[in-house]
């Protein structure tokens, strides 16, 4: 995964704290709990909490330039199939939802909108506004496709 622009410029700020499997597992577990909470919430905006949390995790993985390697680990830890050079957003979504399965279209939609935001150097804090200002998840993807 390329980490360009503002995020890669901060590569020098590595924090020198190891990130073993049990820490990664805790992060996935946290997302998984959030996913279930979001599922129980009927609010239209609830999904943004989950998407922001996924984005925030990949954001700091990308600062350390380890997003792809950690995405592979996340898939492996949760017993999912590891593809070659997996997309970190899709992988973390799959890992945090496992053993449940999200329908493929929805999962791909979420991963795509996160990739789009990442490509535009959006920060996790601004993700909800980034998507909503572009008309929501579907409109945001459609606009990204037109570019």
């Amino acid at each position: 995964m390329s980490s360009t622009g503002s995020i890669s410029s901060s590569y020098k700020y590595l924090c020198r704290v190891s990130y073993p499997d049990n820490s990664l597992n805790q992060d996935i577990k946290r997302l998984s709990e959030l996913w279930h909470k979001v599922q129980a919430d009927r609010g239209r905006d609830a999904i943004y909490d989950y998407l922001t949390a996924v984005y925030g995790l990949i954001e700091w993985w990308a600062v350390e330039r380890r997003a792809v390697e950690r995405a592979e680990r996340a898939l492996r830890i949760t017993g999912l199939l590891v593809s070659e050079d997996p997309d970190p957003f899709a992988s973390v979504i799959a890992a945090s939802i496992a053993p449940d399965r999200l329908d493929r279209r929805k999962a791909s939609k979420y991963a795509r909108v996160l990739r789009l935001a990442f490509g535009r150097h959006c920060r996790a804090k601004e993700l909800k506004d980034f998507i909503k200002n572009r008309g929501g998840i579907n409109a945001c993807i459609a606009a990204g496709r037109r570019r």
Binding site: S10, C15, Q26, D27, R123
Partner: protein, 82 residues
């Protein structure tokens, strides 16, 4: 090496742990102690990292830490009342 713990709850917990680790391992540098504590907190699901505005990595308490602290507090109150 400076760590950015931008969260009062987590900072407080790290400071408590720091004193106890420092007494046990006086030869460790302070950044090594803090790195070890943050790593331990993270592996328990009590801390998570995030990217700060300035691009550096910061640390904050998770919902799980807040929940666990709340439960401990409730237990302590219950014990006092018994």
């Amino acid at each position: 090496m400076k760590f950015h713990v931008g969260d009062k709850t987590l900072r407080f917990e790290v400071e408590i742990e720091y004193e106890s680790v420092k007494d046990r391992y006086p030869n460790l540098k302070s950044w090594e102690i803090v790195a070890g504590i943050l790593s331990k907190f993270e592996s328990r699901g009590h801390a998570s990292r995030y990217v700060r505005k300035d691009g550096r990595i910061g640390w904050r308490a998770t919902e799980k830490l807040r929940q666990d602290l709340f439960e401990h507090e409730q237990e302590a109150i219950d014990e006092m009342e018994d």
